[in-house]
């Protein structure tokens, strides 16, 4: 069984108040590593066997139509072993 992963992130030019809130909470807890934080969504889709090119094309389409809003978000589709 393979897993197709879709990562959805706000476009770089779109303000991310949730990411900013996380970024400002980190130093309060003593974590000083973050220059900035962006928050996104991750979808894990299980398929039988190895994903075919046709399946991946379908997932790309679903990501564009439903999983992301192309007005404000970008997405990346990849296969995870």
């Amino acid at each position: 069984m393979a897993k197709i992963v879709v990562d959805v992130m706000l476009k770089p030019e779109i303000l991310d108040p949730q990411g900013n809130a996380v970024a400002s909470a980190l130093p309060r807890l003593g974590f000083s590593f973050a220059k900035s934080v962006r928050q996104g969504k991750r979808f894990e889709i299980e398929v039988e066997g190895e994903p075919t090119a046709a399946q991946l094309a379908e997932v790309e389409k679903a990501a564009e139509v439903l999983l992301s809003n192309p007005v404000i978000e970008n997405f990346v589709v990849r296969v995870e072993k």
Partner: protein, 141 residues
């Protein structure tokens, strides 16, 4: 005039919208999200609430409800459509309206009286406005 009010699972303000339609002198027609028929309405209101639990993105799942395919088609032919609150989000997700809604930049929940300016009283929804300003209670996050 017959004005449809759509109820999605999670819609809260459909009864308010239907009352407003009747108060405005029209007939309110209840439409269910799974309907495959607009019941010959002349216009449609998408009321507020939390359709489909706001899952994925607000309005993102409602946009694909069977009744919405008919609304999108009819809107393209000129049928007036009004989206209030969550209904407005559904219209954005449907790409009937441009843009998208995001969280308030300071992450604060706002609940206050909001003054509005009526800049156009010739739309089907604003013809009875004869004053320039109005005020309504707004809540948003």
């Amino acid at each position: 005039m017959r004005v449809g009010v759509i109820t999605f699972p999670g819609t809260l303000d459909d009864r308010d919208a239907a009352r407003a339609v009747v108060a405005g002198g029209s007939e309110a027609v209840s439409l269910w999200h799974a309907d495959a028929d607009l019941k010959s309405v002349d216009a449609v209101i998408l009321p507020g609430g939390f359709s489909y639990g706001d899952y994925l993105r607000c309005g993102a799942i409602s946009r694909f409800a069977p009744v919405m395919q008919l609304v999108i088609e009819a809107a393209g032919k000129g049928m007036p459509v009004l989206g209030i609150c969550n209904g407005f989000q559904v219209l954005c997700e449907s790409h009937l309206l441009p843009g998208a809604l995001t969280r308030n930049s300071d992450l604060h929940f706002l609940c206050r009286d909001q003054e509005i300016e009526i800049v156009n009283n010739t739309t089907p929804w604003t013809t009875s406005y004869n004053r320039r300003k109005d005020c309504y209670p707004a809540k948003e996050r």
